[in-house]
Assembly symmetry: D3
Homo-oligomer: 131 residues x 6
């Protein structure tokens, strides 16, 4: 028994179709990814998640590639295969090279190790870092 | 009883002093942060951690500010106050504005939520994302 | 080489069989899940884990469905496929609909995002939330 | 140096005030929590986060108390003090007793332990749990 | 408002006192730690947690110091200050030196970084590691 | 599209080959694991990661088996299948029995549960655990 089944366009309600249409138009793709088809099992989640992503991932003071790489960093840290592969692919399409991916994961590793050491030694805040 | 005590320069062994000196020279600061003084309780960890950070955080195909922001993203995700404050400060000194921090944390939030939904619905890989 | 092999009833020691029998009687099932067969490689873990689950998952001031949904929420957050699928199945058998699962995962997402923002901005406790 | 400063109503821009007003009206409170005042440093995050929370935490097929308890469960799992205290308070105001909190945390503990064992023994999916 | 209040011996019910007495006798201490006094707000959790800890932390095929150090490793990884300080103290009383703590945290760091890289590069299992 | 492709010895640059040679010599194996072949996509990461592992996993004040078991504990906690299987295998080759694995995972479970309860009840530090 699958955890969830995809909601295909042909079977979707008008509100789900409207989100699919907006994703396809915004991204210039012919069909939406499995991600959207599965979260469409709960239409308010589909709508809210898409609106959040559309707003938060749009280029702003950070460019789109940087945002995709932060998405990859978080997904590697959390161990989510689907999101990792999906957003690595997106980042590569925007110009992320193997070397950039290597440097990105190196920073994630160094930061996580620093988090562990800061916890492990219970390092007190430097005076200029206090509230 | 503190979890660990800082190792001050005056009391440090020559190998610890050598790392402190390199940190100060590399960063152009008068003294090293509490982080280094506490992990100096285990000199091989101090040396290895500094060499890792020096290499991984140096500008490469990703610039230094982007790397600092990824460090902030990971530390926010892991909830490490020390690292978060320390590297937010570093990122701000390199030009991160409130708006950039806001966009950064928004991406971390959106990515983490996507990780949860991908897990929760056990979303299968799209064909073009498979090995 | 598998990480662990299942311990089948026919090959099990009396203390393992006693736990299997109790699981089958308590849940009204013909056989125990792979979960129990694999943790039976360490009989004290099998016994303790079953007793913990039996006590903590029994209806109390929280009903059984609510408890199963919290189990699903935690497993989605931690990204554990086995537990997620197993307890989603259990929750569905007790009446969890697609809409309820959608709302549940939405709360997990909103809460996790709030955790990230509370960390990222280092939000101080409101006075009435302090000890 | 504080990680962030609160944005008070008197100093807020009209779009931030509009969110504060909606929070106060929806919740029947005189002032908003520190959480909102700090994320207001990035107004789009304030607006999006509030709209997400307002929608996801509203009573639906899950009642409000259940949703607050799931929020507490996630925050305990992630170790976020601010969110934990804030939503424990909210859950208590809606009727969560010490016994309910005890049972809730017990389920979080049992589920997390199951996640660890399922990973540690690499337990294969039972046939009826497969896609 | 504190998240929870301690349950002192003088105010405790007989079943809570029985657990406190067993902790004191087993560990040879005059009073129990805050940990036990706070989880006593839910007596079944107190009893179950103590019995679990008593069994799992007792010397077996792993000695007591090794178990305490694994406890420290997990708590550093999860960022739990209370447990980290409490079990570092316990491990030190059993002989853990600064050098041992340093090596322990180094392994936690190296392992976590390996987890991130294994996720980030989606490294396939070597043939001899497959089921 | 695979997330990454292995770098085989025949195709590797001299600096990558030098690391492979050192791994093979240090461990007395004929070929390196997939782990090293994939992270070799970013040669500085390969070199740094190997040097870190070589130093941190070498027997010191903690013996090699204890270090492997801590690696297993961390990987079970983080849910990383590759690292878990790889280092369980390594630990078994050094003498870890089923019973030792069972006790190890039991400690990880008990520690994680304690972390959740310490968070959930916001347990204050005992006086002798304070800085």
């Amino acid at each position: 028994m699958p955890q969830s089944n995809p909601v295909h366009y042909a079977d979707a309600t008008p509100d789900v179709r409207a989100v699919y249409d907006d994703i396809k138009a915004t991204r210039g793709v012919d069909d939406v990814n499995n991600y959207w088809k599965h979260i469409a099992n709960h239409p308010p989640t589909l709508k809210r998640t898409w609106e959040n992503a559309k707003e938060a991932m749009a280029p702003g003071t950070l460019d789109s590639l940087t945002k995709e790489m932060v998405f990859v960093a978080v997904s590697a840290s959390n161990g989510c295969e689907y999101c990792l592969r999906c957003h690595t692919d997106a980042a590569r399409k925007q110009g992320m090279t193997d070397e950039m991916l290597g440097e990105l994961l190196a920073v994630v590793g160094v930061a996580t190790q620093a988090n562990i050491l800061a916890n492990g030694y219970q390092i007190p805040l430097d005076d200029d870092l206090k509230d």
